[in-house]
Amino acid sequence: MRRLRKYKPFVRASAIDMMAYRFNIITWAIVTVFEVACLIFLWLAVYQSSEGGIDSSINGFTYKEMIVYVVLTTIFGFITFNDDTLWFINRDIRQGTIGNFLIKPISYRGKFIASNIGAFLMMSIVFGIPLYAAGLGVLIGIGYLPVASVWDFIAHFALFLVASVLACLLNGVISYIFGILCFYTSAAWGLNALKTTVISFLSGTLLPIAFFPNVFREIVTYMPFAGMSQNPVLILMMKYDYLECCKVILISLAWLVLLELFAKLLFSRAIKVVTVQGG
């Protein structure tokens, strides 16, 4: 525990940073509201034009469930995916500030994990609590998200929190891996675009993985991305029973360990090619 204490300042610093950008966050939130509205109308059109009409179920999702999915995925992404790991690594390499970390008795990876946790905590407390409360309140209130038993809901919510933390850490390590590639190329912008696209497509943020074609769907289900957006949201929607919840959480956990090991290996190789500017 004592060894972890030295990362505390980085948790605090990124939490404070997050609040420094609150204006950006609010502007972004307004844009997001419009996006959600568009998606709702889009799905409305899809369901209305399907054979069974608005009450039909497409790939296991009814219209109501799809709306709940869209709203919760948006809130989830807003709270969970806000890390600048890739940009920070890129800047550290270009400006040579990476040296400042290499001469300190802390792990470079550890510093980013601490930052991810700090940002996540701050976002969860400041925006997460009101947004989830309002979102869930409305969705349950209008009957789009039926709650049969309160205890069942609370248990799923607890599992959802676990899955959220894992999603945040998975997102962090994937960003970090893409960031390390900046050691070899200066195409940070392209790397970031690639990362964002891959994550939003394969995590089910754009549309649920159930909509993908057969074999592809099976593969994507067992990839780390599913645990980064779709699975936590489906846990919260109580679409998974407890066994399935545990299964997807364990898959995420296994991927997290695997990716962290891979990141460690990648970093130890990349660090050998560091050339600090102005040597």
Binding site: R2, R5, K6, K8, P9, A13, G96, T97, I98, G99, N100, L102, I103, K104, P105, I106, S107, I271, K272, V274, T275, V276, G278, G279
Partner: protein, 336 residues
């Protein structure tokens, strides 16, 4: 304490073609040029010594320092800090070293200095009592308490340097690497920094390795010099030896009126070497052999100097002299 064995660092730089076509060509084939920034350097530094690591720009000083503190990995050879290689055991060695790069700060730009110190206190796990005691000592030698609560970006260069030096000493490292700690400072700040380095060395027996371009830094601080040029060590020994070899060489630069032809002025003696650079006359002499007062009088009476400047020999001059001496020795050795 510090052992450096056959240390070599080769940088590979891609050769880029000229113009647009050349740029496209480099997309498909990459040629590299190799630059030997550090080339087979070896030395040992015992505990408590203050060593000046000097050389001209691009000689390989900073690259060596960066390998010694674990930022860069050597191409071959090794560095041992207390028996451990810093680039392999980064986090363990980091506790024993403090580093200051004169060109870059390690402090957090936007937060008050004292907050930066508190972050470092946690990062290095310094106990409360040690922290208090060290801050007290560092404030007294560096005078940092007057700007403790200011954000780092509002500090002047001299203040920031003192703050950086204090930051690097908070965890009481066994070794302090200072890369050009007095660059861009005025005389008063330079003096304060030198006094502080002495005080730290005396109180904690900190081993100090410093690179500098300022001859005065070396005279004030270092007992030993390691000189590097083009990645190779050209001198390693006590400061006194260098002085004995080159004497206490000073240059006197005179601005003379246009009506005086410097080549017609009668020479002072063989001990003074005169050279002309446009309207300037440069007199080089050994201040231990020739009386400075006599030279100045001579300059005014014979040259009618309008303005004058006295300077110590620069590091570049010393390097040049050592190199030319070595070449002479080589030439002699070949003849025999």
């Amino acid at each position: 304490m510090i052992e450096v064995q056959e240390l070599t660092k080769i940088f590979r730089k891609p050769v880029r073609g000229k113009g647009l076509i050349g740029m496209i060509a480099t997309l498909f084939s990459r040629k590299y040029t190799e630059i030997r920034a550090v080339d087979g350097v070896s030395f040992n530094i015992p505990k408590g010594e203050i060593v000046g690591y000097i050389g001209s720009n691009g000689a390989g000083k900073s690259t060596t320092i960066k390998m010694m503190c674990g930022i860069l990995t050597p191409t071959s050879g090794k560095v041992l800090i207390d028996g451990k290689e810093p680039y392999l055991k980064r986090r363990i060695v980091a506790k024993d070293i403090g580093v200051v790069f004169g060109q870059k700060t390690q402090l957090w730009w936007d937060i008050p200095l004292v907050e930066s110190f508190k972050v470092l206190k946690e990062v290095y796990q310094v106990s409360d009592s040690d922290y208090e005691a060290r801050i007290k000592f560092l404030s007294s030698v560096l005078g940092i308490d007057e700007f403790m609560s200011q954000p780092v970006r509002t500090l002047s260069l001299g203040q920031r340097m003192r703050a950086d030096l204090a930051a690097s000493m908070l965890h009481n490292p066994k070794i302090l690497f200072l890369d050009e700690p007095t660059i861009g400072m005025d005389v008063l700040v330079k003096d304060k920094i030198r006094t502080a380095i002495h005080a730290l060395n005396a109180k904690y027996h900190t081993t100090v390795v410093l690179t500098t371009h300022d001859m005065a830094d070396i005279e004030n601080l270092c007992s030993r010099l390691i000189m590097i040029e083009k990645g190779k060590i050209i001198y390693d020994g006590p400061l006194g030896d260098i002085k004995r070899r080159f004497g206490n060489i000073k240059t006197l630069t005179l601005t003379i009126p246009p009506n005086i032809d410097p080549n017609e002025v009668e020479p002072f003696s063989d001990d003074i070497i005169m050279s002309v650079d446009e309207d300037k006359v440069i007199l080089g002499f050994d201040a231990d052999k020739v009386n400075l007062e006599h030279v100045v009088q001579y300059a005014f009476s014979k040259y009618h100097a309008i303005d004058m400047k006295i300077a110590d020999i620069s590091i570049e001059d010393v390097v040049k002299k050592i190199l030319s001496q070595q070449e002479e020795e080589h030439a002699k050795a070949k003849k025999i």
